[in-house]
Amino acid sequence: MVHPFCNDLIATFKIENMQIHKQALEMGKVEDSQVNKEAGNSRRNFIRYSVAAGAGSLLGASLLTGKINAEESDGEKVKVLTTDGRLVEVEKGHLCCEPVSHEVARHGIGNKKMVMVIDLSKCRNARECVKGCQKMHYLPEDIEWIKLFLMRDNEDTGPYWFPKPCLHCNNPPCVKVCPVGATFKRSDGIVLIDNDRCIGCKFCMAACPYSSRVFNWKEPKIEPHELDKNYSPENSTPGKVGTVGKCDFCPDMVRQGKLPSCVTSCPNGVFYYGDENLDTVTNGSETLRFKKLLNDRTAYRFMEELGTEPSVYYLPPTNRLFDYKVGFNDISEEEIALYKKEARIED
């Protein structure tokens, strides 16, 4: 399914199924022989395949480092029309995976402005978003890029569950303080980290008022064969020891016309993701007008008073679908006690 906000991206690829025809690979600079050589050398052949950012054009020519999984290949080929009018044919499997280069990742995608709306009235601490995110980014269990808080504004008001990714601030304090530009704000509103440039000074962690950043205190334990992608600031995987990680708003998924995994794994449709410029957000099952939603539900941004101008909006936890206690179902006693203490809930 192609989500509405991804239309403009997908439209640039005219995809049609084709007969296998190896010699017909007209892949710009990548020589056939080179492809074959690589194929012979390793089980996991990569034809690095870079989708150019900015104009949303497919630079078929700059097939930098794509990846074809030999075993998985069902031989199906697709033809892709680049914006400069050339026809490129690749195996279908390749289309999705290969991340963009570090340089490309520094600019936004097209003229997008990614936003998220989180509906607090539907959250019941199912924690599927956390797990989905961890799975997608190969995070160990003790690293959470999206965190769940039990909030209670004061002793007389009701507690509510509060999922919090990085808020991708439009005036991001973390970006301001980075001494090497390893964390940066893109034209599509996404704040990313280049883990190959980060020196690990942790200044951004001290500067982020929303506790969004986590540090790779030790070498992440990921077996290379688990990974199906190479590192790019856009997929943030694998994390690197001594550098900082955080929710990346999944720009790699946007490029593929897919939704971030927190959005798709939430059973309650709490997360809406989309493009502000197209004025649409979707949680996978319903697609809404972004501005209208904010208006109708009197959305707010978390700690707006800090002047950070987040890209994530919250719909207030009114008429909640679940009692907050439902959220205690699947978690340990110890955790419940901690949640209760922080939210000042007495039994």
């Binding site: 003790d142 965190k147 769940l148 808080f149 039990l150 909030m151 919090k164 304090p173 301001k176 303080v177 980075c178 001494p179 090497v180 530009g181 390893a182 440039r197 980060c198 020196i199 690990g200 000074c201 942790k202 200044f203 962690m205 001290a206 500067a207 008022p209 929303y210 506790s211 950043r213 986590v214 540090f215 790779n216 205190w217 030790k218 070498e219 020891v241 001594g242 550098t243 900082v244 700690m303 800090l306 950070t308 340990s332 110890e334 955790e335 901690l338 949640y339 922080e342 939210a343």
Partner: protein, 462 residues
């Protein structure tokens, strides 16, 4: 360079200090080197296993390393401000202590930034600071300010030592050949001609003017690393002057301690006298009061305003089961005790002033800890972490070892420098009058001034 008998006498006093090392000295050196290697081992562990071996975690991202960094940059003020200002004001009693002060500056400005490097997750990428440096980041300001400051302090120390290098060149002491060679090179052909003397004096004046604003800037930038973030307890407009005052306070304290130690070890009683301790003690009191005033102002404002997040930090500081006793020590004892010791004449003597300085220095180290850690332990969002080390910071052996190692390095470098050059500027000292007569002179001058005033008021009244 011909020297008079007085200079020769002074030099003779320092020759044993340069030529040989006592048994005690050798033992001290060995211990310091061992401590240094313990630090190297701790660093090795940290580099191979990652920062997981420290007590720092996602909430408390900065720990002992940053505390030590601020502390060492703070005590570097001894040379920059104290000796810079004393020099500019031509304070007559400064000569025997300025070199010590300048050595403190150089040594601690070398050790301080090392702690920043220990705190950085990717030591192998430090060159990115130059490759990709961004001027918007306070860390870049810090890199620029500290390197400038360090260069300035080294030149300042060097200029003030050239005359002694020349002295040692022309009156060789029995030391290794390479050392004599160094004296020769470092003296740069200085031979005390009137012209050279004038140039040197002018350069020193100029540098002491430059070094004062530079020092203030360095510590302000340091404070801004914290002040620029949106964190309770850090985001304060008075942070820069607060840090500067705290730094001079601790710098003066360390200077007094160094005077006390060297006076004992190298038997400098005739040079470093009670006058020095008293006068520096008065400076210490003044700075202590100023530091107390800033502390009071800072916490009163945030308590009175009682913003939720500020209160979170204050609760931690005033909670007896949390940081209260440390806070009590750093903000009350560390201010009041030195003031009482120095201002009450009955308590005031060389040893007690040194003790007061020790308290002040230690209190200031604790204060830096209390600036960094409680704020980081009080994030704006609730902390639901189940792992206790992610909520409460406690330094590990790696951090403690590296801390002790840094202090050891401070002593080591100080010790080695004191073996290389006389710890007191010999040439300058010998130009001056006897210290006992100096004391008399100061007294006389004060008396004269008093007389003048009496006379003046007489004429006004009469």
């Amino acid at each position: 360079m011909n020297i008079d008998s007085k200079t020769q006498r002074t030099l003779n006093k320092f020759i044993p200090q340069l030529e040989s090392m006592s048994k005690f000295g050798i033992a001290f050196l060995v211990i310091l080197i061992l401590i240094f290697f313990a630090g190297v081992y701790a660093l090795y562990v940290q580099l191979t296993e990652g920062h997981i071996v420290t007590g720092m975690r996602d909430q408390v991202v900065w720990g002992l390393f940053i505390v030590n960094f601020i502390f060492f940059i703070g005590i570097s003020y001894a040379g920059a401000l104290i000796s810079g200002i004393l020099h500019l004001l031509r304070v007559p009693w400064r000569s025997p202590i300025i070199r010590m002060a300048e050595i403190i500056t150089v040594v601690s400005t070398i050790i301080g930034p090392t702690y920043i490097l220990l705190c950085v997750g990717r030591l192998d990428r430090v060159h990115h600071l130059l490759l990709f440096g961004r001027i918007q980041s306070p860390i870049t300001w810090d890199v620029i300010a500290i390197t400038t400051y360090l260069s300035g302090s080294i030149i300042f120390l060097y200029l003030a030592t050239i005359r002694d290098f020349a002295l040692l060149r022309d009156n060789p002491v029995k030391v290794a050949r390479w050392r004599n060679w160094f004296y020769k090179v470092l003296s740069m052909g200085y031979s005390e001609t009137p012209k050279q003397k004038e140039i040197l004096a002018r350069a020193t004046d100029l540098l002491s003017i430059v070094i004062i604003p530079l020092a203030i800037l360095v510590h302000s930038v340091l404070a801004w690393i914290f002040g620029m973030t949106l964190r309770p307890g850090w985001h304060s407009t008075i942070f820069a002057p607060y840090f500067v005052v705290a730094a001079v306070y601790s710098g003066t304290g360390v200077l007094i301690l160094a005077m006390w130690v060297f006076r004992k070890v190298y038997k400098l009683e005739s040079y470093i006298t009670k006058i020095h301790f008293n006068y520096l003690g008065y400076i210490l009191v003044m700075l202590g009061a100023l530091y107390g005033y800033f502390t009071f102002s800072e916490y009163l404002t945030s308590w009175y305003g009682s913003i939720k997040w500020d209160m979170e930090v204050l609760h931690r500081l005033f909670d007896p089961s949390d940081y209260w006793w440390w806070f009590f020590f750093a903000a009350f004892i560390g201010v009041l005790l030195p003031i009482i010791i120095v201002t009450v004449p009955r308590f005031r003597n060389i040893n007690s002033i040194a003790f007061a300085s020790l308290i002040a220095v230690f209190a200031l180290w604790v204060k830096r800890y209390l600036i960094i850690i409680p704020t980081l332990e009080a994030p704006l969002l609730p902390n639901h972490d189940l792992r206790p080390e992610f909520i409460h910071y406690s330094p590990t052996w790696v951090e403690w070892t590296l801390t002790v190692s840094g202090v050891g390095m401070f002593f080591l470098m100080f010790f080695l420098i004191s073996k290389f050059i006389p710890i007191i500027p010999v040439m300058k000292i010998s130009e001056e009058k006897d210290y006992n007569s100096l004391r008399k002179k100061v007294k006389e001058r004060n008396l004269r001034r008093l007389m003048k005033q009496v006379r003046k008021s007489d004429t006004v009244n009469g």
